[in-house]
């Protein structure tokens, strides 16, 4: 047997596609070609079924009932936390806080750790490729505290210039926050190296993992970061659920940021004692069903093999990048050496919105616009880009469809 086995032998994308019912549907009379995975991913039948089963057979409130269903729901909800803990390789379930998504995770750190620890004159360091959700929470915090937001620049390939990042780290830097991978360009940051640099300067490290988790195996202990947060819906799970990993010692010392039920031990009008980790940060009835659905999604991608998914997506990235060279006037924005399967592009003569509308007529879904990264668009001097982002169920044939669709765009604009 030859050793040169193509990944397609071990990764059966046709079989994978059968798990996603929405991929069977047609759009505008065409077979759907879904290339907007960086915005949100489609859900496998396994996740859909798990949500249905929860509501049909297990629905109950958690952590408070003595009855049978509450025990079942609590076990499933806490089981989901354990799944996430293992998925991220966190030390303990106490370090996993359920949130609505990445944005809430970042805001939690800014509002709880940040408000407690930041002083006037301190600095928060981010990078030029951040999503608005990793910019605005820090701006709010800095404005309140009289602190300063610093931004590490990127080079023309869309890579963070690590030397510049290092130079901006000083004893004033209290927080370094950066994405694992860029939603707009696909750039994968050297998060371990950046974490070491930030720690050496005495800053804590917050990683926006929204685009990391879907494409890369994650090990928070290996990265060494203090916080890592991601969204379920970008990794084949439900919307409205995500998680924040935080190092236990830090979480323990942080004040709660929302008050309510479930996050307390005892309440009197004089004094309230807060619950233990991670419940201190989960006020109110949580999003039980979707937390369980998220765990099912992580189990699902685990069963396909994270390394195999990454290899499949990398193949699509290389193939699509190569084929897009055929399109006259096409410029790829973001040519990082380490890149997730996201391709941002412009056409010389056609605005991204017009591209998006014409592709949509062909059943091809891409994102057009500034991708919630306006400062980054300014850096590359474009008002907007088209973005094709590939997921675990995409195929080379779909990359071909994109190329054919773009040829049609040029035809319309003659």
């Amino acid at each position: 047997m030859s050793l040169a086995i193509s990944h397609s032998v071990t990764y059966d994308v046709d079989r994978v596609r059968r798990d996603f019912p929405i991929l069977q549907r047609s759009v505008r009379g065409r077979q759907l070609v879904y290339l907007d995975n960086a915005a949100t991913t489609q859900k496998p039948q396994q996740v859909i079924d798990r949500l249905t089963r929860y509501y049909r057979e297990e629905n109950s409130n958690v952590h408070r009932g003595v009855h049978y269903l509450s025990e079942v729901a609590t076990a499933a909800y806490e089981g989901a936390r354990t799944t996430i803990q293992r998925f991220l390789n966190a030390k303990s379930e106490k370090e996993i806080v359920f949130t609505r998504g990445t944005t809430e995770g970042i805001n939690l750190v800014a509002q709880s750790w940040g408000r407690k620890n930041l002083r006037g004159g301190d600095e928060v360091l981010i990078t030029a490729i951040e999503h608005h959700s990793n910019i605005v929470p820090w701006q709010l915090l800095c404005a309140e505290k009289g602190a300063t937001l610093r931004v590490a620049p990127v080079n023309d390939a869309g890579e963070v210039i690590v030397e510049e990042f290092a130079k901006l780290l000083t004893d004033r830097t209290k927080i370094a926050a950066f994405g694992h991978a860029s939603n707009a360009l696909g750039t994968i940051n050297p998060v371990r190296q950046m974490t070491e640099l930030a720690h050496a300067a005495g800053a804590i490290v917050v990683i926006d993992g929204a685009q990391g988790v879907p494409h890369l195996p994650i090990d928070v202990q290996e990265i060494g970061c203090d916080f890592y947060t991601f969204s379920g819906h970008k990794v084949y799970g439900p919307t409205g659920i995500g998680a924040l990993y935080g190092r236990e010692a830090l979480l323990d010392a942080m004040p709660p940021w929302m008050g309510g039920g479930d996050m307390i031990l005892s309440v009197s009008f004089e004094k309230t004692t807060y619950n233990a980790l991670p419940y201190k940060f989960e006020a109110g009835t949580p999003n039980i069903a979707d937390a369980i659905g998220l765990a099912t999604a992580l189990d699902y991608i685990g069963s396909l093999g994270l390394e195999k998914i990454a290899a499949h997506e990398h193949d699509l990235l290389l193939y699509a990048t190569e084929r897009l060279q055929e399109i006259k006037g096409l410029r790829i924005i973001g040519t990082s050496r380490q890149k997730a399967s996201v391709i941002s592009f412009t056409l010389e003569t056609v605005h991204p919105h017009d591209i998006g509308t014409i592709l949509d007529q062909e059943g091809i879904a891409i994102r057009t616009g500034h991708h919630c990264a306006q400062p980054l668009m300014m850096r590359f001097n474009v008002p907007a880009t088209g973005r094709a982002s590939f997921g675990l169920y995409n195929t080379r044939a779909e990359a071909d469809a994109l190329v054919e669709g773009l040829k049609k765009v040029l035809e319309v604009f003659g």
């Binding site: 056609v350 605005h351 991204p352 509308t357 007529q361 616009g369 306006q374 907007a384 604009f413």
Partner: protein, 149 residues
């Protein structure tokens, strides 16, 4: 392709490629910015208003073909018209692109009729109307920027 040809009519492609009145205006009586924050479309409309009459219109900025052609055709159409005439044109144009007005009077619309295909593309209505909303704000004397979101 037929819907696309309806959307991207020759007039639109032409005005996108060679926008009319596409420059800043010295001596403008008002100047208003229009944004579509979700798209990143951004135009500045310059007006010279004399009493009730819009003497001159020009614009600068960038955006998709629909928004740019709309700004261009609008600038050519409203020049020399009164506030009332412009308000009526905007109403008719709005009905046309949203598909809510039945069959609009083609003679009344002139070149603006080229935007009839937009009604089949609800996501693009805001592109077609951005310049008009901005003009409206300028005529009302709003100095603040407007958005279509």
């Amino acid at each position: 392709m037929s819907d696309l040809r309806e959307l991207y009519q020759q007039v639109i492609l032409d005005h996108n490629k060679n926008p009319r009145n596409f420059h800043e205006m010295a001596g403008a009586t008002s100047k208003v910015d229009g944004y579509n924050p979700l798209c990143g479309d951004h135009y500045t409309i310059f007006l010279q208003v004399d009493g009730d009459t819009v003497k001159d219109v020009s614009f600068t900025g960038s955006g998709c073909a629909i928004s740019k052609a709309s700004a261009s055709v609008m600038s050519a159409t409203v020049k020399g018209k009164s506030r009332d005439e412009i308000a009526k044109l905007f109403d008719t144009f709005h009905s046309l692109v949203t598909g809510e007005g039945g069959s609009a009077n083609a003679a009344e619309l002139g070149r603006l009729a080229a935007f009839s295909g937009v009604s089949e593309f609800p996501a693009r209505v805001k592109c077609a109307t951005l310049a008009w909303h901005t003009l409206n704000a300028a005529l009302k004397g709003d100095s603040q920027s407007v958005t279509t979101e």
